[in-house]
């Protein structure tokens, strides 16, 4: 890939509470080209949201602290940027949408005002122009512009999430981070919103980081995938790499535990054990206590990334020495 919009290198974010250190993100790296969509997949507590907050410069401090790493956005390290610079970048260049559309809108302002507010904050234009832009944005996400003067409670859940998307896109950001944007929605509504996001991604040429626990959503919309476990990328690659040739035991387990609509099985596959607590991570490979293939080496030695191709990386020694050639 020639051009790179965002490159995150060895990011480490820990939370410090009550004398305990929660290792939320532990040396996470990935990169993203313009107009590319990357999916962050992982379970609750894997560090997906913390990474996103880190990119936005919004890690709550205290208790959170970025201990190491670089976040290079358009050639500039965001971790070294001042708060004033970050404020300009947020909303204009990088925006974020959150899981719950019900709480991310202000109930006492009309949706038009809320979109216009963002526009005015980052552009020099009159209130009237901003409102016109707001209407345009609403139309773009499939809501009649005339509903500009309505309040959030007059919209349904799916509509609210559309409004939130409109706000996030109002300033033509280079990068949109979507944190579980469809999890709170019903399946048929989720399908509508995903459909919209796919269209917008083509029209607006915005890069997107899609945070989700649902591999189905990833398959719908992403170009590449980073599987995150205990604050690390354990496997990354193109959609095809991950969906047809996943090598990491965790990725394998994730795929196997999803009930398949087209096939019949009597028992669902289970990844044994639980997600480790971020205050008490295992040594060596963080997945080894749950891994069916773990050896003694896994318990003591941190695995090194194995590059199977230019795009496909696996954080497991088995991937390299042919151990993954399963039946």
């Amino acid at each position: 890939m020639s051009e790179i919009l965002l490159e995150v290198k060895d990011l480490v974010i820990h939370y410090f509470t009550d004398g305990e250190e929660a290792c939320a993100v532990n040396g996470l790296s990935f990169d993203l080209a313009p107009q590319e969509v990357i999916g962050f997949v992982g379970e609750t507590g894997a560090g997906k949201t913390t990474t996103a907050l880190g990119i936005m410069g919004l890690v709550p401090n205290p208790p959170g602290r970025v201990l190491n790493g670089e976040i290079i956005f358009q050639g500039k390290d965001l971790l070294k940027a001042s708060e004033a610079e970050m404020r300009k970048i947020r909303g204009e260049k990088i925006t974020m949408i959150f899981q719950d559309p019900m709480t991310s809108l202000n109930p006492v302002l009309t949706v038009g005002d809320q979109i216009a507010e963002v526009v005015l904050l980052h552009n020099k234009m009159s209130k009237k122009q901003a409102m016109a832009r707001a209407m345009e944005m609403l139309e773009m996400v499939g809501i009649p512009g005339a509903r500009c003067s309505e309040y959030p409670h007059q919209f349904s859940g799916g509509m609210k999430q559309r409004v939130v998307i409109a706000i996030a896109l109002a300033c033509n950001p280079e990068l949109l981070i979507a944190d579980e944007p469809t999890t709170a929605l019903d399946v048929t509504i989720q399908a509508q919103v995903l459909d919209l996001m796919r269209k917008l991604k083509e029209d607006l040429k915005t890069s997107l980081i899609m945070i989700t626990h649902d591999l189905g959503v990833v398959a719908e919309i992403c170009d590449k995938v980073a599987v995150i476990y205990a604050g690390e990328v354990v496997e990354s690659g193109t959609l095809k790499d991950i969906f047809t040739d996943h090598r990491h035991p965790y990725t394998e387990g994730l795929f196997a535990s999803i009930p398949d609509l087209d096939e019949d099985v009597d028992r669902l596959h289970v990844i044994k054990g639980l997600m480790p607590s971020p205050t008490d991570l295992p040594t060596g490979c963080k997945f080894h206590p749950r891994c069916p293939y773990a050896t003694e080496r896994c318990a003591s030695e941190r695995p090194k990334p194995v590059h199977l191709s230019d795009t496909h990386m696996v954080l497991c020694p088995r991937a390299g020495d042919g151990g993954a050639q399963k039946a």
């Binding site: 859940g157 535990s257 669902l268």
Partner: protein, 319 residues
């Protein structure tokens, strides 16, 4: 056929400031002993209300409920108390469905105390211990408080509580929707094992079709308070006839490179207030014609064991 639960034209209406809400509107089904009925639908379709009405957590507006041969449509508090020994519920949210101020052992043992099952304390303790083992909770969890445990373990507590007094029938209201995928699979497997061991009968309520597929024998699809399609689980994923079921199935994002042909529905789910005589799905239905807005379609058997409520069932499916 040995049916445990028979529900006939069950209705549950709520009075709201905007009119009468037809949360459950004339639902009928039969559930055999040891089988699982999956009830599927999106938020507001009345699936949870249906489960709660069957359990008498809500009183039915009208209709009949036959349980193990007895008519339990109307029960007095004493009968209800006895009935609860036989029908239990597992709730959706493992974070709010158990009392945060009680220990794990206390929560699991509560039904035993309420029904004074054991006289001797040691018997009681042994039963709590046994229950914890059954659902896969380690011994040292007994004195812990719920907040110290993760969602999966908390859901196991909820299941153990429901099992405590040996019920025959359990309503599972979205028991896995708040859990991570890998934990979801653990809980689903547990529920299936328990059914095999204890001969339980389940009513499994969920919004997620892929979840019910594995656990159900029959599936009912609900939309705005009404059954729209009912058939054996395996059949539904091969032959589905109602336009809503088709859309619902196609809307599930698949973890595969090649996606199904998607049927995108227009508009959003409304609420079943002042419904009138029409097909409740008509507004969003891609095939809706005039008659759909004038007449409520009846559930009709389209192939043996497969019923659907749609005026154009045959036309749409080329039958």
């Amino acid at each position: 056929m040995d049916s445990l639960l028979e529900v006939k034209k069950l209705k549950k209406y709520f009075n709201t400031p905007r009119g009468v809400l037809h949360a459950v509107d004339g639902v009928s089904f039969t559930l055999e002993k040891g089988k699982t009925l999956g009830v599927v639908g999106e938020s507001g379709c009345g699936k949870s209300t249906l489960g709660r009405t069957v359990l008498h957590l809500l009183d039915p507006t009208s209709g009949k409920i036959l349980f193990d041969g007895r008519d339990i449509s109307v029960v007095d508090p004493k009968q209800l108390h006895e009935l609860r020994r036989e029908m239990q519920m597992v709730f959706q949210d493992p974070f709010s469905s158990i009392n945060p101020r009680m220990t794990v052992a206390g929560i699991i043992g509560e039904p035993l105390k309420i029904y004074k099952v054991f006289d001797a304390k040691s018997d009681y303790e042994a039963r709590v211990h046994e229950l914890m083992e059954t659902v896969g909770l380690a011994d040292n969890m007994a004195t812990k408080y719920p907040h110290e445990l993760d969602g999966g373990r908390r859901q196991r507590i909820g299941i153990a509580r429901a099992l405590a007094i040996n019920p025959k029938f359990i309503v599972c209201d979205e028991p896995v929707s708040a859990l991570d995928v890998s934990i979801q699979a653990q809980i689903l497997n547990l529920l299936m094992d328990l059914q095999d061991q204890l001969g339980l009968t389940y009513m499994f309520i969920t919004h997620d079709l892929s979840v019910v597929k594995h656990i159900s024998d029959d599936i009912c699809v609900m939309y705005l308070g009404m059954l729209v399609e009912k058939c054996p689980a395996k059949e539904l994923f091969v032959h589905n006839y109602h336009p809503y079921t088709k859309a619902l199935l196609s809307a599930i994002p698949q973890p595969k490179l090649v996606q199904r042909q998607r049927i995108l529905l227009k508009g959003e789910i409304t609420s079943p207030i002042n419904v009138g005589k029409k097909c409740r799905f008509a507004q969003r239905c891609p095939y809706a014609k005039e008659i759909c807005f004038q007449k409520t379609p009846k559930l009709e058997e389209i192939t043996p064991g497969h019923t659907i409520a749609c005026h154009f069932a045959k036309e749409i499916n080329g039958l």
